[in-house]
Symmetry: D3
Subunit: 246 residues, 6 copies
């Protein structure tokens, strides 16, 4: 049930029985020498659509460009300023709440979005609080790659080569979706360096090929399908309460 | 060549030979009783991908939520405030120009975006002008449905039933992309009322089912494929000069 | 009936019988080697005052500095960023609607303002929509130089020398208002080059004296008076319905 | 020398010999039962034009709508939010400094603008400070009605009836400019109440006819001409140093 | 009664009997070769706490970083952009009014804050005015160093060496609070130059050690205690009416 | 070494040997029936000053009001909108980096600040990236209560009564600083309910006395001193590398 593929009378009918909606958010940024620039958006959207099917919950269009400031030294990366992304999330939430969507689950594919989205939740709540009468809204953000079952599966599949950027789980998921892009060639070093970083230039100098601590050559499309299934099931299990509780 | 499906080294290689990119923009808003809420985004993206293939030009991810303030009385419509959309476009342009994309063609699926996008072009240019050195950037916005060949075909197919919102050409194009959504049932009145409007409430009271001046029941998936082909060819013909001229 | 020359009790009395107001907007930017920097503001204000007299409608003070980013390489041009101009228009509309002015006609003298003003209309409507109760507001923007009767007269007077910037019609109108500034000397080339442009620097390099496609040396104060009369009559004819319809 | 009535080559020539410009700012707000809504803008503009003539200094178009939040309970008053007015002043200064106007004198007609304009000066300076190289800019704000010679003349003409809003000096000046608007009828009470206020509603309840401490019925067009002359001479005397000093 | 040292039930009880609160604001900026960078915040806070004790009025936490753009060429100075400071003041006022604090007295330690704070008062009032119902709020800003009794004492203690920045009264007050920082060494020149300034660079070149017109070597901790006492008494005398009047 | 108690020549001398600075950030919000409204700011400041002493690092003034939207139903709570707090942090960082402070450690006392501060780091970095030349800046945020040694001590002292708001560790720390405010009376229920929340109203209805999962009656001033010591030592141990690494 993609919002984009529904008509307005179908949405009206849906709102008779549910106030739930999923809003996927990703990023458009380098994912190492073999990972896709759209990895985070593709993963979030795929997980969201599976969850939507499982729970018969509407899925809004994906926010494809997120907060990727630290990746901007790599060609093709796109970023919104945090203040812009906050405004986008606030406007999306304000649109949805106007129609009666009062439980908004954001399924996220990119760690760099978390802070800004959380700030946007608070900003939106502040603005709703000033209106009369105050519209009720509950929001929640879930990072698909951090779910316990997903982390367990990731470690089982890739051990110490998961890393934290351009990771084999996310790469595998995109290769499941777009097998023609799979590029499992060995990389040098096999496992990329690991560590913190400060600015875009600092990121590039520490992690010259864009990976952090990962070996995405271990990914396979089959893994991706497994991960997608596990992630969707786990979120579906968690989200039911969120969507229906008073 | 979707940016989302490329790796950063592929983008780097691309930028060796081209500074062109297409950025599609649509909207997420009601399109009458039988049209899809995602119509404008789906159309813009489909046309952009065809043009990208024809010209071997990179296509950035679609801005799916646009400026749809006037549709907000219909369930499911989403809108960015114009100021938010301006910031989104500005940040996307700033991201692209940083990598050397200096010719950005926006292919647009929604009339309500035009003013805001044009304002965003000027806002971006003002900011680039203050930097030292000034990065060169050329932007252009094309509305696919207003191209002469598209308009000619639309009139040939639908005569006086084209209208200006939830039109058969755009509906046909989405049905070509998602035939399972095609819903050609007759509507009442056959051709929706036509005219201007002022606010969201005013829109709904004048055009109670969301259409303006159109009869989307005439649309067919086959028409949609024809329209997509004509639109893409026409833009490809026009964009070559824009992308390559100094 | 200039708002500036009324007292507040006079405005209060006016609002008993009308909710209409005209808000002129121009620009402060180069108009070629012989045209005045204030051309767009002077024209919009003059037309607005004539319409105001004809319809006995109040005229608010002119927004004299508009969006003129592309003219900034010529000395004396002033510009607001689009986001600033949006805020100005939004605040003016919010001020007027507070008093009960619910029909605001903006008479515009500058093409570069159109996108930003339209975006401002939507931004304002979004904000009004969130208030409780929602104040009703209808806005309309008219470009005086594009009115059918004005275009016909322009072509009759100047043929293919009208062009699109520093045009003889607008120059003529300012010379009618300020005959001491009339400077009909022949220019070289007689008709300026025509075409599109991208940035302020690009504009100046394509159109080195500031004109686009025009020969303002054909302008005369008498033409200006004719154009002013035709423009005001045409708008007066169109605006009646806008001001009074429910 | 109004900027609006100059051509860009005239401005270019002017900048060869001077970097000075005057930017008048007023307000559009109630001025008591007999004063004009445009009083503050009319006064500032008139004084600025006289100073411009005396010193052969360019005068930019008047900012006619200022910060008049406290007057908004009186029909016809218009206001910019302080943040909007700051953006307007910042954009005007940024436009001027780009051409080489490095000494900007703002002649002000409204006390309510002072804080916002001073804040805008600092905001602009902060932004210029971040550019490379930093453009030099000096700004100054003068309130015409507070000049020592103007205050002396005001007291001589009106004694304890000057007050602080809708004062006879400003009313006289507008009546000198627009004698047909002069309305010297006696008001009740003769001298309006005096005091502080907090909000728009509070202002209206304390000062029901809009005047504060004043008796504008004493004003005459002849007084206005005297005041205009004195104000312009005094500013001309002070501004010379500002415009020319390094 | 520092808000920071109260519990929420204590604030709830306080609001049963009073709607008054004091909000101190200072700055973090150079104060000459011997004055503390925190001078303005320390002074405002000390005076506020004394007034709070005298009147049994709650004191909110001090806004320690203000608008100090002109001091930024001296190491250690910090500044908010005026637009940021406006947002801070607006948010603080909105927070307080939500709980029923309807009389907010800001005690200020820095001249550079005045314009921005006054603009913030108007911005806040504009926003409150749009809400339904409109919350009542009265705000007042007092500069402690300009109070008549403080000025008299300052002149009596320091004569023509008070100056306008890094003045002996403010320096004395901080030395009373932090005697270990007292540094009464003679400065060269004894009295710093006096005059106006335009930008941060201009300030530093005119006033190379940061003082304007002052000789802070005359300050003593004992003077500081005297000044603190006089300032607090004077404000306590003035504020009673503000806090309690309807 | 508080920045507030230094003179500018002392800061200049300091910058000769170090580019490090600590910027504490807290909040002003309810902390249960017995905890202080200033808890988070008091704790962050106290820890920061200890770390500053241990490492001889400068400490900037505390940001006392943070992002406390969810506490606004309790009297006395103050909040900045996330967008305002982002601007504050950005301006503070921009001020510091201008002087050469290139390693900024924020010591945080409030979980609700984390998202916004992280977003502000990215926003600042985006802006610095556009300047020419790009100033180097590294930022880090540490939550004192989450440090491993602090958590271990907290659990050892309070077992399952730590909770997540109005916790005994933070309450103890404030009572160490202000023993006169210690209020160890038993609360009902002993341990407050635990769980998630969505809006300010939702927070208050779930946690009616403001505590989440905690029993602050266990706190003692002596515990607070212990916790302060452990926190400061742990941060001092971690921050050395951050401050000095290239």
């Amino acid at each position: 049930m993609r919002l984009q593929l529904a008509t307005w009378p179908q949405v009206e009918a849906y709102l008779e029985r549910s106030r739930a909606i999923i809003l996927p958010i990703g990023s458009t940024e380098q994912h190492g020498p073999t990972g896709l620039i759209g990895t985070d958006a593709l993963c979030a959207e795929a997980v969201a659509l599976r969850v939507g099917e499982a729970l018969e919950v509407m899925v809004a269009p994906t926010i494809a460009v997120g907060m990727a400031q630290h990746h901007m030294e790599f060609p093709g990366s796109m970023t919104l300023k945090p203040s812009t992304l906050m405004a986008v999330v606030r406007d999306c939430l304000a649109s949805l709440v106007r129609h009666g969507f009062e439980r908004v689950l954001m399924i996220n594919g990119h760690g760099g979005n978390v802070a800004t989205v959380q700030a946007a939740f608070a900003e939106t709540q502040t603005e709703l609080d000033r209106l009369s009468p105050r519209p009720p809204l509950r929001t929640r953000l879930l990072n698909w790659w951090e779910l316990p079952a997903v982390e367990r599966l990731s470690v089982r599949l890739y051990g110490d080569a998961v890393g934290s950027h351009a990771t084999p789980p996310e790469v595998a998921l995109t290769w499941a979706l777009h097998p023609e892009t799979a590029d499992p060639r060995p990389l040098e070093p096999r496992i990329a360096p690991y560590g913190a970083f400060f600015s875009a230039a600092d990121f590039r100098s520490r992690f010259p090929d864009g990976r952090i601590g990962s070996d995405p050559s271990l990914a396979t499309p089959a893994h991706g399908e497994q991960l997608l299934k596990v992630a969707a099931e786990e979120i579906a299990g968690m989200a039911g309460t969120f969507f229906t509780a008073d």
